[in-house]
């Protein structure tokens, strides 16, 4: 590629043609301020925080959207530039609900950081904030338009990353807002609650519903036996929230923190991830043998379930009937666990820590009840757990490593990799292959399912029967696969779909700094745990799972399993489609 030489503040830098001023400056340690810019998204150039001087140009140039040219002379430190950048930030602050001390994003707010960086201590501008009510109509996500800075990152996430297209911009001038179709509350739209919007919002305009207080309350209630399950993806991501290096494996510190917070038992969702593999693997074999609906599609990702129920409800038969690992855990916690411990299920509170905002919605679905009590009572995102740990004064980095409790604390490497895109597929194949073929897969590292490519495919030879499988992550890729099925052009037998880009390690409830680079590190750590840290790598080797079947469930797809571990899906109420334009 052709290279060009430019100067920034009289420092020469050589970069490939097509590089933006922003990227070139970062290369030589000049950190131009940004707000609407997000490294994983298309360039928007609408906030104008990143404007700089380009010699010969009348106007200032947005450094995020201006490619460099040979001989370009850029100035980023002049008074003219700093005044303009500061002016833009002041304008944003003047239209921003400065509720900073009561804001969920206090401390992680990019506008707050900019205000600090630009030493904004007073402003001559008029505070003028749009008076639009908060939308807290759903269990997962809260939108506060009074804090919105109109950067359009959420729109980009919803429309382009996810292809869901619920969030959009509407109106003009100072009435310009980020809106939903007909400005309906999210619960009246086909929002999937994937939360990718909340993960990219630079401020507190879109946040997860905060359930931390509920958890503190139940822990304080002595009548309650409070147990917690932690999803596979948390152990490689929560460290980010404490300044550890991206993707650092912190399983032991995390368990220790949960115990110190006062949970009666700390369990691992990996346990029910293994259980999912046993049930789902057998379901696949059953469908293959008995002419069931194929391709079969995984059902662990609640954002994905919401999506297919909303937009492809005529294809619901393709979904595995397995509940997600979270909900399998919930169901067992109020049945098997209750029986074993002799605790009244009404007094067991099951908390989940998930990388996901849609899990909050999933836990509240009406079908997920056992014995009249909710299977999962409260769902925390990674971000919320990090807040609870901070609040409790625990120095996360310094915590000793502690083991999960039994009996739900044992998980295999196959379960850990659920956190990464392709992991469920790989885990399922490790078991299905062995059940059908009678011996271990040639390599347990099923490389075709790994990596960040949007849609991955592979062929597997099951004793002479060759099946094609595919893995899709992010809903925009899921849509492509669903359209193939819709048109009768789908060559796959088994498909893994995860709503979020990268899988759960890139979930909408993950630490705010999640970028593609961070996701890659988390994936690396995930496979490292699988290969190096655990005694078992195949779900059917999990001794606790085998014990569970012997003692309680009896057999995969059996009567008890159907009662506790399987479910059915329903078309979502298409309120949007029913609205008549007046």
């Amino acid at each position: 590629m052709k290279e060009v030489k430019i100067s920034i503040n009289n420092q020469e830098v050589v970069v490939p043609q097509g590089t933006t001023i922003l990227e070139a400056a970062r290369k030589i340690g000049i950190n131009i301020p940004t707000l609407c810019y997000h490294p994983d998204q298309a360039i928007k150039a609408n906030c104008r925080v990143c404007v700089v001087e380009v010699k010969g140009s009348r106007k200032l140039a947005a450094s995020c959207s201006t490619p460099v040219w040979d001989g370009m002379e850029v100035v980023t430190t002049s008074k003219k530039v700093l005044d303009a950048q500061k002016g833009v930030i002041e304008l944003l602050i003047a239209s921003h609900n400065q509720d900073c001390l009561n804001c969920q994003r206090n401390g992680t707010c990019e506008l707050q950081n900019l205000a600090e960086r630009f030493n904004i201590t007073k402003t001559d501008m008029d505070l003028d904030i749009l008076d639009i009510p908060i939308d807290d109509t759903n269990p997962a996500i809260v939108r506060d338009p009074s804090k919105c800075v109109k950067c359009n990152r959420c729109v980009e996430a919803c429309r382009n990353t996810q292809g869901v297209d619920i969030l959009t911009y509407s109106h003009r001038s100072d009435e310009y807002i980020i809106s939903t179709p007909y400005n309906l509350p999210l619960n009246s739209t086909l929002c999937t609650y994937c939360g990718q919007c909340s993960a990219v919002c630079p401020v507190g305009a879109i946040v997860e519903r905060d359930d931390t207080d509920k958890v503190f309350d139940v822990i304080a209630d002595e009548k309650k036996h409070v147990i917690v399950q932690v999803a596979p993806a948390i152990r490689v991501s929560i460290g980010d929230a404490f300044g550890l290096s991206e993707g650092e494996i912190v399983t032991g510190q995390m368990v220790n923190a949960l115990k110190q917070l006062g949970f009666d038992k700390v369990f691992d969702t990996n346990f029910t991830a293994d259980l999912t593999i046993i049930e789902e693997g057998n379901e696949l074999i059953h469908r293959l043998k008995n002419g069931g609906t194929l391709p079969m599609i995984t059902s662990c990702s609640p954002g994905w379930i919401n999506y297919i129920e909303g937009k492809y409800d005529h294809l619901l038969d393709h979904l595995s009937t397995c509940k997600s690992p979270q909900q399998m855990f919930g169901a067992l916690s109020k049945s098997y666990y209750a029986e074993k411990t002799g605790i009244d299920p009404k007094n067991i509170v099951t908390v989940s820590v998930m990388p996901c905002t849609a899990k909050k919605y999933e836990a509240q679905r009406p079908e997920f009840n056992t014995e009249g009590v909710r299977d999962v009572d409260i769902v925390l995102t990674t971000r919320e757990l990090a807040k609870m740990i901070k609040m409790s004064g625990l120095d996360f980095k310094a915590l000793p490593e502690t083991e999960f409790d039994s009996p739900f604390g044992i998980g295999t490497g196959a379960a850990v990799i659920f956190g990464a895109t392709g992991g469920v597929m790989e885990a399922a194949l490790r078991t299905v292959y062995e059940v059908v073929v009678g011996k271990e897969m040639p390599s347990l590292d099923f490389e075709p399912a790994r990596g960040l490519k949007g849609i991955k495919e592979a062929e597997v030879d099951l004793n002479g029967t060759k099946i094609k499988v595919a893995v899709a992550h992010s809903l925009s890729n899921a849509k492509k696969v669903m359209d193939m099925i819709d048109k009768g052009e789908c060559p796959y037998t088994f498909i893994e779909v995860m709503a979020c880009p990268g899988g759960c390690i890139g979930g909408g409830g993950q630490p705010i700094t999640t970028t593609l680079a961070a996701k890659a590190k988390r994936i690396e750590s995930t496979y490292k745990i699988d290969k190096e840290k655990l005694p078992y790598r195949k779900s059917h080797e999990n001794p606790a799972i085998n014990h569970l079947y012997d003692e309680y469930l009896k057999e995969p797809l059996g009567h008890k399993s159907h009662e506790l571990l399987h479910t059915h899906y329903h078309p979502r109420n298409k309120k949007v489609a029913d609205i008549k334009l007046k």
Binding site: A45, R48, P67, G87, V88, K150, Y169, R172, S173, D174
Partner: protein, 413 residues
């Protein structure tokens, strides 16, 4: 003797604008025929020789624009005629659509041939919806007579024209927002690069010309560049169609040679100010144009002369404000316009306009804060330097000139 001229508007009231036969009878389509007998380079050379500046507001040289559009590789290109004419007080293009629709079609065909386009799009502002049938009729007749369609006049030049309207947003006069609007999206400007000339409508190379510019194209190819150059001054040759309104006795559309003074235009052509009232200020080029005090009325209406005193031709509008309105009241009305028309996409324009409106309100009420004037100046500069598109960049043109020419209004003696 009248100071107006008749070259671009030469056909006004000379034929029934609903009849292509009448247009042909008075020499219509001679320009297109001449163009088709030349190479595109020869047409571009005529445009260059004429020194015509584009009439959309930015005054980009026509010859250079066509040459650049021609040199962009691609066998499927687009010409867009920008008839959005959204600048307040600007209605010269409307008069062309009303009085001489075939000249515009001829100009669009000449532009299409010159740059190598197969399709032309006529984007008519929503408020001119009533002119759509007239233009569609003209296009239909031109197709029937072989001036549009395949193998135009027996050549291998194929060209069709499509009529589009937006929903009335001012920002759609900006080329890339106009293209978004034609594509059915909300009218908001695009990031550049890529530039429209390389990647415009439906990702095709696109050449956007104003109505008047294309009408001049017809004149140039009909009469030659010399005829156009025979008007105006040596430095600024040619003619200009203007629209003048506000506090004048004879508001309307006039064609003038460059070089008349503003005083001649206002008093000799537009009949002066009703009641002989004093002029407070005038504004050239629409709401995004610059304002001037009466002391500049003897400035010649020509690009360089106006530029020297901080004025622009812009859209060709001349708005005259008499003593019944103060400078601040006028600025407030302009501000209301931009507060309504900002698309809201970028921070400086969306928030800056709002803040400036607050300050102007306080100045008018006499309740300003000590810091208001410095904030006002700071915001106006910020908007002009840091906005996403030309709308925000030029929205404070009037205010910045008011600070320059009427400092006493802001307590800046």
């Amino acid at each position: 003797m009248s100071k107006t001229v008749s070259l671009i508007t030469e056909n006004y009231n000379k034929y029934n604008p609903d009849s292509i036969d009448e247009y042909i009878n008075i020499g219509g389509f001679t320009g297109l025929k001449n163009a088709l007998n030349m190479s595109s380079d020869e047409v571009i050379n005529i445009a260059k020789a004429s020194k015509v500046m584009g009439r959309g507001g930015a005054a980009y040289p026509l010859g250079r624009k066509w040459e650049q559009a021609r040199s962009v590789p691609g066998d499927n290109k687009v010409v867009i005629c920008n008839a959005d004419e959204g600048e307040p007080c600007t209605f010269k293009d409307r008069s062309m659509l009303e009085n001489d629709p075939f000249r515009l079609i001829e100009g669009m065909a000449i532009a299409g041939y010159t740059v190598g386009a197969q399709n032309g799009y006529l984007y008519i502002r929503e408020e001119y919806r009533h002119l759509q049938p007239k233009m569609k009729n003209a296009i239909k007749q031109a197709k029937e007579k072989g001036y549009l369609g395949n193998n135009i006049l027996g050549t291998d030049f194929n060209y069709d024209i499509h009529v589009y309207s937006g929903a009335g947003a001012y920002v759609c006069g900006e080329g890339s927002a106009l293209i978004e609007s034609i594509e059915g999206k909300s009218g908001r400007p695009r990031i550049k690069p890529p530039f429209i000339k390389q990647c415009g409508l439906n990702q095709l190379p696109t050449c956007v010309n104003n109505v008047e510019t294309l009408a001049i194209g017809t004149a140039l190819l009909t009469h030659g560049a010399e005829k156009y150059l025979s008007y105006g001054t040596a430095e600024c040759p040619g003619t200009k169609v203007i629209s003048i309104a506000g506090n004048v006795n004879k508001p309307g559309v006039y064609e003038i040679p460059f070089g008349l003074t503003l005083r001649e235009i206002i008093y000799d052509i537009a009949g002066g100010v009703p009641g002989n009232k004093k002029i407070t200020l005038f504004q050239l080029g629409g709401a995004s144009g610059k304002i001037g005090p009466p002391s500049l009325l003897d400035t010649p209406y020509a690009y360089d002369d106006l530029h020297k005193v901080g004025l622009v031709i812009g859209s060709g509008a001349i708005l005259v404000i008499d003593e019944n309105m103060s400078v601040l009241e006028f600025l407030k009305s302009i501000q209301e316009f931009f507060c309504h028309e900002s698309c809201g996409k970028c921070t400086p324009c969306r928030e800056g306009n709002k803040q400036i409106a607050h300050i102007l309100d306080r100045l008018l009420a006499g309740t300003q804060k000590d810091t208001d004037i410095s904030t006002l100046i700071r915001l106006a500069k910020l908007m002009s330097q840091a906005s996403f598109c030309g709308l925000g960049e030029t929205a404070q043109s009037a205010l910045l000139n008011a600070i320059r020419y009427f400092p006493e209004e802001f307590g800046l003696q």
